[in-house]
Amino acid sequence: MSSGQTVIVDYKLGNLFSVERALHKVGAVNTLISNDSEAIENADRLILPGVGAFGDGMNNLKELGIINSIKTYAASGRPLLGVCLGMQMLMSESDEFGRNEGLGLVSGNVVTLEQNEDNRIKVPHIGWNTLSPVESWSGSILRDLEDETYMYFLHSYVTVPDDPKIILATTTYGKNTYCSVFKKDNLTGVQFHPERSGKDGLDIYERFANDN
């Protein structure tokens, strides 16, 4: 059983409720959906969820005045999980709709998925795709998952970490092979939506909730 409180950051763009329901389903019932600085800084676990545009997401974090709180939390060494847009915002910057500065917790960029000219590879990438291991998954929220497990993706942009060693898994879509999971110390980012990826996705939240 997990201990302590998991705070899901509410910055008005998140799939907050499906993340919370997934946590409850795996027994992590002590959850709080919040954009309160103190709650974020004192969380035992933090989830930065999200769907939507990078610029909107960062603007909302700025307007809510919680950018520094997230950075303070990240520096504490306690686990932080960024989901989809939440993963992307951990990066230094994004090319989405002009240049946008990210949280800068993970060095690297966010770029658009490349489309094939014949419209056969559609963007946004919507649907199930597989995780191919790069670095070992032991000790990460992916441990015990089989290689090439399917997860649900819904995105047009991907992260490009400067340090390739933090990439745990890649996913291939058309001519794009991109980072779908990274782990840098206490910071984990997943490009897919575990809360929408059936039982394998729930397992990821279970591991996150029970890791110390």
């Binding site: 409720f17 769907v51 059936g198």
Partner: protein
């Protein structure tokens, strides 16, 4: 893997029940929506679509309670359609636990709704729903109000315009084929799928597994949706002689709504109107896709064996 096709059961919902139009015989309740949704999740459905079929009569979508209840148990994406008219409607549906909304009637009346909705919630959760009817001369006309009203709008041009406005996905339903079981409108699907850069979900007409592979291979669909094809596979005829709509014998879940349930009786009329549909389970459809070298999410997930007895139509 690169081009994983999604298999999406569509649940037409009235009150608490999953319903299906049978030929020209009106709607029949097949069971509760929650029960079917749970089975489809366990069986490996990639997403679900909930369609509120009476929404246009009441000018609103009435599914928030069902969405809320199913969202605690079902961890795959849910698209909700029917009677969605405003930004507030969309917010309410998404807050209830849906991941995407599909909009038809209101978008035709006011295309800016797509633009505003995509800007507010992101393109990825705004699906344009097109109900199209083939016209003389080979063009396709967009219809509204659950296939009841013609609009004069060219469906293919409308699809392209809606993508420019911000729609992130297109659900294409053939009004001619819906409920017929004679196959998807391949040409309609292909025309839209090859002209828009966003994913296209084909809907309407699936009567057997072969239709599904056709609409992917020839129609270029990125995802396939079907109702009867799956519902009739998981529907359970019962053998109690006298039943009412609140009978315990209805193993698919008691129906709260009114409705004749005799058609569920396997000795009375349990097999008549839908014999034209060669129903299939979700695993069967996925196996066929893989046999055709069409990539899809594997279905050997744990927990499926628990539901073998529920999923077995015999």
């Amino acid at each position: 893997m690169s081009l994983s096709v999604r298999v999406i059961p569509r649940l037409d919902i009235k009150g608490p029940n999953l319903i299906k139009g049978l030929s020209f015989d009106g709607y029949r309740a097949l069971g509760t929506a929650e029960q079917f949704a749970r089975i489809y999740y366990e069986e490996g459905a990639d997403e679900l679509i909930y369609q509120d079929v009476v929404a246009s009569l009441y000018q609103r979508n009435s599914l928030t309670d069902i969405i809320r209840k199913t969202a605690t148990e079902i961890f795959i994406p849910l698209t909700v359609a029917g009677g969605i008219r405003s930004i507030d409607d969309i917010r309410g549906i998404l807050r209830s636990g849906a991941d995407k909304v599909a909009i038809n009637t209101a978008a035709i009346a006011n295309p800016d709704l797509i633009k505003t909705a995509a800007h507010t919630f992101g393109s990825q959760c705004i699906v344009l729903s097109i109900e199209a009817k083939r016209r003389e001369g080979g063009w396709y006309e967009a219809w509204v109000d659950y296939g009841r009203q013609p609009t004069g709008v060219d469906a293919i041009e409308w699809a392209q315009r809606a993508v420019d406005l911000g729609a992130g996905e297109i659900l294409v339903t053939s009004v001619d084929r819906e409920g017929m079981g004679t196959g998807y409108d391949i040409e309609l699907t292909r025309q839209i799928a090859t002209k828009v850069p966003v994913p296209v979900i084909a809907c309407g007409g699936a009567g057997k597994a072969e239709h599904v592979t056709q609409v992917i291979e020839v129609g270029m669909a990125d995802a396939v949706s079907a109702a009867s094809l799956f519902h009739y596979n998981y529907l359970q005829p019962v053998d109690t002689l006298f039943m009412s709509s609140d009978s315990d014998a209805l193993r698919m879940g008691k129906q709260v709504d009114e409705g004749n349930v005799d058609y569920l009786h396997d000795k009375l009329c349990g097999a008549i109107p839908w014999t034209m549909i060669e129903s299939a389970s979700i695993p069967e459809i996925k196996k066929r896709l893989l046999d055709h070298d069409i990539d899809c999410r594997s279905i050997d997930s744990p927990g499926m064996s628990d539901l073998a007895s529920v999923g077995d139509p015999s």
